[in-house]
Symmetry: C2
Subunit: 382 residues, 2 copies
């Protein structure tokens, strides 16, 4: 707290204003009471809120406010004991600021990329990630930042991909199993199991919720071709927005449809936009997959031609070599992609030699939680 | 096809119009070419699209169109062979219609409910669900319709809940394990593991993607109290919208925040709205949990008072007994909720006697796919 910090009650106690180094920040009484951190409001052990909003009067009023050390002491009209608020916490959680994000903004911890990332592919050493928390934290940080990471020097062993998942989270089992084999099949139920090249895509857009992480682990790789490639879907969408804001808006505003019914007993369908925005415009997801795109029927006739033009252009931007990071995986190497953002592709490969990958899905909640907990521990230790 | 069916080429071949019993429906040439079902466009076995949009010219034009039996034969300028389209498929997938959904619309297979559902709780018999496809289909249909279903006469056996998940899909493993035990603990990491009553809530809103199904399975139930209750969050949101459209809009337009950091190494956070709408206004999710709601910081000061009033009112509607379906589970009984829609609550229970539930998460993709595949088989058999 600076000496200049001041507090002022507003609107008869329905709000207050704090004035300090960060400027003048207003807070509503009901928000303050709901966000108190005293032991009667939040369980001391696990931080869960013990009260419901219904226990706070609708006409919640502050009758007295005072600054004391790093704390703001508040007396509410409906209670006898004052509650202390940490000023630093209030500054961090202040909401009295101009809005003003433009559609397609991304979170501050995200950095979009192009082929230039080839020179600095985020890579972790399998054993270091297992044994060295600093190495794991750095790799997870890169995963959150770039939506993609490679892991080298892992074991060449059936199921080793589960050890990758265990570094940060949990496998998402699906109708494809806890994991799936990616090698040429004679009667494939999915084109992924052929030697065909696959255009860059996100996996399983027909699934809702979509698997938010994918792990692909190389066990054999002697066939010619079959290189892997990744491309940042957020960057492609940003490029689309820069050259054609209306096209970006169309792909975000209307739902596409996806479907997969390639196996008996399976009929997966989703209705979600190719570019998913949070209600305030944050870009939070890309769905792009020519193989499983179903007929788009939620775009009105008047917008369909422009929608298709934008869809085409997004595909061109995704296919643009200027955005591609490509690599060949050797046995024991793997890569992880944020399947809500980074598209992956495979070049065609020949039938001579072998190519055997194992893949599985996992989710970002575990990865981001593991990273956030490590960052908090690091912060506490410093 | 009726005798009156006609086809007309529009805009120099960039579109066509079909006129028949369904009225006049226009389709763009590029949409038609992209959605062809010939064997060169879609893999005959699994239905996956074999071409990318880039392989269709941007100026895709129809040069000749003719009706023949139930088919529309189209010749595209850039190709030599004509392609046949099924007229029934075109009618089903037509997009030339007025938009006009209002915000908060729900899918046609969803029916919102209130306490009146007490008289007809969707219930399946465990053994029948395992052995009789018609019984399973009926129960899954009710799950999709009401977002909630009960199962009776299951085994009283540790892990029996996995047999419930296997009826339709796959367990979503999380930091709580493949399943979690719900009984009173001495030093609980989560208030769910105490005897406290819990306000109706959706589970794990701090997780993204949220688990879309929850299974709760009763193994012991001799403690006084502890009744379970469910309430339709979509109905509560519909009521809010009817009495306060601006409040509904605020809860849909701004993101709330949720957090759980009750265990070592765990720090789960999300930023999602309490009422989630698809870009075209379809209601697709409710997140409501007083215990894990973090400070709401994405609502500007000018809207925060009204936002909080709407949040309060939504909670009152959720707590309204007029919307509650409550029941007591006996050992071997379980219930499943669509965790994106239906909130569940627990009344407080005493420390005497025992109450032991096992819970796990799963996802709707598997459930909806299992149902859709059964419906298609039924349709094909009829």
């Amino acid at each position: 707290m600076t000496a200049r910090e001041q507090v002022e009650i507003l609107d008869g106690g329905a709000a207050l204003a704090l004035t300090g180094a960060a400027g003048r920040l207003r807070f509503h009484a009901v928000w303050l009471r709901d966000n108190a951190w005293d032991a009667a409001t939040r369980a001391p052990g696990n931080g869960q809120r013990l009260i419901t909003l219904g226990e706070i009067p609708a006409d919640c009023r502050i009758t007295h406010a005072a600054l004391s050390g790093g704390a703001l002491m508040l007396q509410f009209a409906h209670e006898t004991a004052p509650i202390a608020y940490d000023l630093a916490w209030l500054n961090e959680n202040a909401y009295d600021r101009p809005a003003g994000h433009s559609p397609g903004w991304t979170a501050p911890w995200i950095e979009t990329w192009d082929a230039g990332l080839m020179a600095a592919v985020p890579t972790g050493d399998f054993r270091a990630l297992q044994s060295d928390p600093a190495a794991l934290r750095a790799w997870l940080f890169a995963m959150r930042r770039y939506g993609f990471g490679k892991i080298t020097h892992g074991p060449v062993r059936d199921g080793a991909l589960f050890d990758v998942a265990a570094l940060f989270g949990y496998v998402r089992e699906t109708n494809y199993g806890r994991h799936f084999e990616v090698r040429t099949e004679v009667n494939p139920t999915n084109l992924a199991y052929t030697g065909l090249g696959l255009q860059a895509h996100t996996d399983n857009p027909y699934r809702d919720p979509v698997p938010t992480l994918q792990i692909l682990y190389c066990l054999e790789s002697s066939a010619a071709g079959g290189e892997n490639m990744v491309v940042d879907g957020f960057r492609a969408a940003e490029r689309l927005r820069a050259e054609n804001p209306r096209g970006f808006d169309l792909l975000a505003r209307y739902c596409a449809r996806f479907e997969y019914a390639g196996s008996d007993g399976i009929c997966l369908r989703s209705r979600r936009p190719m570019i998913e925005l949070a209600p305030d415009g944050e870009m939070i997801g890309i769905r792009f997959n020519n193989r499983s795109a179903a007929a788009i029927t939620d775009v009105p006739y008047a917008d369909m031609a422009d929608y298709y033009a934008a869809y085409r252009r997004l595909g061109e931007l995704i296919d643009d070599p200027a955005g591609e990071v490509s690599f060949r995986l050797d046995p024991g190497e793997s890569f992880v992609v944020d399947n809500t953002r980074v598209l992956h592709a495979r070049k065609a490969y020949s039938g001579t030699g072998t190519r055997w990958f194992q893949g599985c899905y996992a989710d970002k909640d575990g990865l981001l939680s593991t990273l956030a907990a490590m960052e908090q521990m690091k912060g506490a230790a410093e």
